[in-house]
């Protein structure tokens, strides 16, 4: 197995994951719902009026501004900002694609399985099963079949 050490950034990835989890927790505490970006976008597209629409719009605006704020705080370059915009375009296209085809299973872990913030044992079991299956698949592929 070859590891691309140049792109191996465990601490940054952990920090980013922690921030995403914090954002999900804030939304869950404030609105009592799981943060599913494609679902939020779907609501934004399908219900263009009312209170339910406004918080979705504000969330999306915050999501777009967050990375730029990070670049500004870190003193990033213009090139980094352009790269982030390109990456954001990919995400938006993927999320919009998902929002328009909401019957497709986009991620294997569905939103309702991700309620770890609510200390759900069912969610813990789902996540452990998901991660365990992934580890077992990699082990079998690399060490038993490879």
């Amino acid at each position: 197995m070859v590891i691309n050490w140049a792109d191996f950034t465990p601490f940054a990835s952990f920090g980013g994951g922690a921030l995403i989890g914090l954002a999900a927790l804030i939304l869950m505490l404030a609105k009592g719902r799981v943060m599913g970006v494609s679902g939020i976008l779907a609501g934004l597209l399908s219900r263009p009026s009312g209170v339910d629409w406004s918080w979705r719009l504000v969330f999306v605006i915050g999501t777009l501004l967050g990375p730029l704020l990070l670049v500004a705080l870190r003193g990033g370059t213009e090139i980094e900002a352009v790269q982030i915009a390109e990456g954001g375009q990919l995400w938006l296209a993927a999320f919009f694609g998902r929002a328009r085809h909401s019957d497709r299973l986009w991620l294997h872990l569905r939103a309702r399985d991700l309620r770890l913030g609510a200390l759900s044992l069912r969610s813990l079991a789902a996540v452990m099963t998901f991660v365990g299956t992934g580890v077992a698949t990699v082990f079998v592929t690399l060490h038993l079949l490879g």
Binding site: D7, G15, L19, A23, A30, T63
Partner: protein, 42 residues
Amino acid sequence: MIRLLTALVSGLIFGAGLGLAGMLNPAKVAGFLICLEIGIPH
């Protein structure tokens, strides 16, 4: 107003988390979407 502010803060933190984790690097995003068998959107 508080609801909107909360949604904004949540969105800001979410976006910053994506950026910090490097998940706004186009190459990483494309790799992630391909890994999930979503394909790169056009």
